[in-house]
């Protein structure tokens, strides 16, 4: 694949080009107070270019610098929002469905793991034809990815095969080697057009080499040292090991932050409200770590917390593949960073694998 070179200013330039050229709203990571969120980016000054993030289990700190990864938010917050009004019913039982499509959208500076998470949603909701998702998804007219040459401490995308470089499903990708060298690559004809409009030069052999060295290092850092198939088979064998699952979840308090921040967790519940003369049906995200999940009339499927934590892990590595032939985990590490008690999914799968491998 042809690589191009530019500088930081070219990222900003490309932001302006895609916005104008595609007449679209740009969504991506942006600064919000002392933290970062995924939201509408009004101007290039909001892009998290001079931002560094330190992320460890249960820990996230923003400072100035060059190594921004991602935040507790993700493109999920746009494509599959936490709360969606589905429809309203009036007293004559007329049903009004809400128009929930978006203006044309460009996802800008999202991460390779985010793209992988969108692929997971596409399969889940595309196959089941979820109109609320598909309306929003269809409004995405362009995807610009930032590769991670400086991955977070909790990232393990290399193990999951979802990063740290962009692999598919993007139009344009860029990677910050340093302040003066940013490597660009086109992933579609739209990407080629953007490259041409931005007047980017071809990268030299030396540029490419510097990029590849950093990329190899990033791949090494984001590799758990266990294969996904190993993780999968050992998890399958561990299902009845109550003691093990109690142990790995002993600090868990069932707050469901892990589910909420996971870019591929999609479970939701339906709540009905009465507003004036209308009944409103709302879908909101819920997590399988919440007590409510599995609570049904007359009983509870997973009353004990460890069974819910176990289900979370098993769904990602064992059940998603059965559902959609893709892993439900893209290795972004969010569940680990945003768990307030720092429960680490990498430790969990390593513990299970070391007991049940082979």
């Amino acid at each position: 694949m042809q690589l191009y070179r530019g500088g930081i200013e070219d990222i900003i330039n490309i932001y302006n080009i895609v916005k104008e050229f595609l007449k679209a709203d740009v969504y991506g990571y942006k600064r919000y107070g002392n933290s970062l969120v995924f939201d509408f980016i009004e101007s290039s000054s909001e892009l998290p270019i001079d931002v560094h993030v330190v992320q460890r289990p249960g820990f996230y700190r923003v400072s100035r610098g060059f190594g921004f990864i991602h935040s507790s938010h993700s493109p999920k917050n746009l494509l599959y929002p936490f709360k969606q009004e589905l429809f309203r019913v009036d007293q004559e039982l007329n049903i009004k469905t809400l128009e929930n499509s978006l203006k044309p959208v460009i996802l800008f500076g999202i991460k390779p793991c985010d793209v992988a998470a969108i692929n997971v949603f596409d399969k889940l909701f595309g196959n089941n034809f979820n109109p609320y998702y598909l309306n929003r998804r269809r409004s995405v007219v362009g995807i610009v990815v930032e590769e991670c040459l400086n991955p977070g401490e909790t990232c393990f995308c290399s193990t999951m095969g979802t990063g740290p470089d962009a692999r598919n499903g993007f139009d344009l990708a860029f990677a910050k080697v340093d302040r003066d060298l940013v490597i660009f690559k086109a992933g579609s004809s739209l990407g080629e057009k953007i490259v041409a409009k931005a007047n980017l030069q071809k990268a030299s052999d030396d540029d490419v080499k510097r990029y590849e060295i950093l990329l190899e290092e990033a791949k090494r850092k984001t590799n758990l040292g266990i294969g996904v198939e190993d993780i999968q088979t050992s998890l399958e064998k561990s299902i009845t090991d109550v003691e093990l699952w109690r142990k790995v979840s002993e600090k868990c308090v069932g707050c469901a932050n892990c589910n909420m921040v996971c870019p591929t967790c999609f479970c939701s519940e339906i709540v009905d409200d009465v507003v004036g003369d209308e009944a409103v049906r709302i879908m909101q995200l819920i997590g399988c770590l919440s007590y409510t999940y599995g609570l049904v009339a007359g009983g509870h499927f997973r009353k004990e917390l460890y069974t819910r934590y176990r289900h979370f892990i098993l769904h990602k590595f064992v059940f998603y593949p059965k559902q959609i032939d893709l892993f439900g985990c893209v290795g972004c590490g969010r569940c680990t960073v945003w768990c307030p008690v720092g429960i680490d999914i990498r430790e969990t799968v390593k513990t299970v694998a070391s007991r049940y491998r082979g």
Binding site: Y32, S35, V253, A256, E269, I286, S290, V341
Partner: protein, 242 residues
Amino acid sequence: MNQVVRALASEEKLLNFYNIVLFDEITERLEMPKKIDLLLIEGSTVTREQEEVVKKFREISDFVVAMGTCAVQGGVQALRIGDDIEKVKAYVYPNPEHIDVNKDVKPVDNVISVDMFIPGCPVNHEAIASLLKKFVSEGLPIAIPESVCSECKRKGIVCVMVAYGIPCLGPITISGCGAICPSFGRGCYGCFGLKDFDLDNSKLKMFAQQLKDLGMDNDRFEQTVKAYSWKTWSKYQNVYHR
């Protein structure tokens, strides 16, 4: 009570459906009614007289709601439990001998049976409005017990504990407030009460340690949960050692 007024005022038609028979702040005190369809009780019982009153009301009421953290959990007055009641009275009143009060504090359901709980200090007016609206159409709101964290996330708030290192009781506190404190960059202090599911002494101990690492010492943690979660806390307390 402000939240109840707010709930009643939230929709024009709501008041058409209800006849308010007793509500000290907004009606004149009438005679004891013969029958009440929906009774909201605020506050815990701390005297024998209050216990008798609550029992009488139960007899004439179809549906009883314990409303607010005091009614549900005991409330801040539970802080005195375990101390000598005479000393506690003397802290507060110049002539403590005139004060007739029990040494324990009873959430409403320790005295009578309760049909529904709406926790909160203060309660969430939307929860009250939801009850008032659904009750007239012969349904009831469905409680969705979760941690405050889920509400944080649905509001799109950045977690103050993980991102800023602020101690937060949200992960162990029952949802319902709409994550008010974290919305303002503060940690949750548990005013809706400890979750009465999913926790046990060892989890609480580990969580208290986590908060301690962030600067909330164990005494402060225990005082806070005692003040807002007496009923649930006392269940764990027997098995909770530092």
